[in-house]
Amino acid sequence: MKYAFFPGCVSRGGCPELYPAALKVCERLGIELDEMVDASCTGAGVLQEKNKKLGDTLNARTMAIAERMGYDTIMVICSTCQGVMSRAKYTLDNDDTYRAEINALLAEEELVYTGNVQPKHLLWVLIEDVGLDKIREQVQQPLSGVKLAPFYGCYIVRPSDSLGFDENPERQTSLETLIELVGAETIDFAGKTRCCGFPILTINEKASVNMVANHTGDAKDLGADAMVTPCPLCHLNLDGYQPAAAKQRGKSISLPILHFPQMMGLAMGMSAKELGLQRHVIDTKPVQKKVGQV
């Protein structure tokens, strides 16, 4: 099982703990990764605010590079990368004229976007390609008694027409599936598919932090020990701005936010340090204690 690997910007920038955690989990499960060193940023929806065509071209280029490398799937570890790349693919695959325009822009590098490559988050790779039985074999330290609230990140749930939910309906409950598989209990809450507020952080910090306060506060009130997310941008806000959210809410929240590969790694018996939990803003020791790591 081998994929072209697109790590995204944030897993090597603001959330440097994600990249090694994801790599370790993949290694344990026998997933080989061929990192795409020549791929550019997806634009994260921000570049698209300035120029949509620019964003679509860069994503077409990344998918064309993967095809040239001999792959039909690009593994990503970020909900935003997944969504933005999927949306570009959806647009290009449904508009021949536009695709020809974009291909003309890629010609100088002798790249062709054909539509044969799909982006696929590690979350989906685990369920659809690795399979639950094989993962279960690697669960050495079940997270029994740990209550985890899923938090997907907008771009891995919307817009649904570009995310392959018709063919793969299990994608919509993939986080819950893995939470249960590692032996933890799911804390279901209304905010799990809502926005973390990160995209408006610089524009309206108060509103952005209010979203953090609502989601982390609600999950905490429902008894969650931690929240789990496949999106590093959500992590930046839910973890990094949780102190501000607690201040805004007027009471402590202290809800550790785990990157989803960290949850998998903990259940596979990896140490908190290997998984970079010490790098989180919100102390993760209460969760580590529950799984016998403190």
Binding site: E17, C41, E49, K53, R61, N214
Partner: protein, 316 residues
């Protein structure tokens, strides 16, 4: 088939527990929509149930409501697609608008926001002898936004309106683009100036909830992105949002991938001491935790091709 509607009800005249959930179990044909079932409930089971509807054909926009937590038209939502494994369908009034009774909301919030964007043509110059003419081609990009039936579903599920009631919201901003993009309108710059204000086009968090909720394919968020792109191209580049997009693009053009450190420092302005001081605790905390993005930001090996793509598109 049998279906159980779990309807969130609200009765302002009750002294206690004004809001509650009431279950109705019905036998209905397989082809029934949520609205069909609600009408049957009202006519045969409980005449006190308040629901607003008219055309029953996804045209009038009267019956927007939340089904299983997501807004849409009751008349366009099939029961068969909505029932859980126990045959239950959750029905609630729309969000972000005060409830009058049961499934009926007060849409004045919605209409006030629509009015705020001056949803009418403001042509400039002398009136033509006959009608104002717009070519077919020039109107094609507006077809999506012209499909709006003002049902309020997008406003219901807007994540920003939940935390910021001053936000114009998806419906009004999509409507604003309908006029900004119209070649007969002469008030584009004035509109951009107003939409640049706090609560305007830059306050959207790009969560796609409105795209998902809209029953007519208006894709309000896409129209908001069109506004941002066209406003920036017209020189409206001084807001934090516009600068953020510009600096983001600059760093990707320079190295092929995002330089988070530059983005964080440059967006508020290098010499904006107040903002830099405000952001400092978060930066220090990230540094202490080893989470600061790399100070030396290396470009990807093939960055020249990325730059060429930028140049070619910028030339266009």
């Amino acid at each position: 088939m049998q279906v159980k509607l779990a309807v969130k009800r609200f009765d302002p005249e009750r002294e206690q527990d004004q809001s509650y959930v009431q279950d109705y179990t019905l036998d209905v044909p397989d082809h029934y929509t949520v609205l069909d079932a609600l009408i049957q409930t009202r006519e045969e089971v409980d005449e006190s149930l308040a629901v607003r509807c008219s055309c029953r054909a996804s045209i009038c926009g009267s019956c927007a409501m939340r089904v299983n937590g997501h807004a849409g038209l009751g008349c366009k939502t099939k029961l068969l697609d909505s029932m859980d494994k126990d045959g239950v369908v959750q029905v609630e009034p729309m969000g972000n608008q005060p409830v009058v009774k049961d499934l009926v909301v007060d849409m004045s919030v919605f209409w006030n926001k629509i009015r705020a964007v001056k949803p009418y043509l403001q042509p400039e110059g002398p009136e033509p002898e006959r009608e104002y003419v717009a070519s077919n081609d020039s109107m094609l990009k507006l077809l999506q936004t012209m499909g709006c039936i003002m049902c309020g579903a997008c406003v219901s599920d807007c994540t920003v309106l939940e935390v910021n009631e001053n936000f114009l919201g998806p419906a009004a901003l999509a409507k604003a683009y309908r006029f900004v993009g119209d070649p007969r309108d002469g008030a584009t710059n004035q509109r951009f100036g107003e939409l640049d204000e706090p609560g305007g086009m830059w306050d959207c968090t790009r969560c796609f909830e409105c795209v998902e909720a809209c029953p007519k394919g208006v894709a309000p968020m896409d129209q908001i992105m069109n506004l941002r792109e066209e406003a920036a191209a017209a020189g409206f580049t001084s807001t934090i949002g516009a600068r953020h997009a510009e600096i983001f693009a600059d760093t990707v053009k320079h190295s092929g991938w995002l330089d988070e450190l530059q983005l964080a420092v440059k967006t508020p302005g290098m010499f904006n001491i107040g903002a830099q001081l405000h952001n400092m605790p978060v930066g220090i905390r990230a540094f202490l935790r080893g989470k600061l993005p790399p100070i030396v930001h290396k470009a990807i090996p093939s960055v020249r091709f990325v730059r060429r793509i930028f140049e070619k598109i910028e030339e266009d």
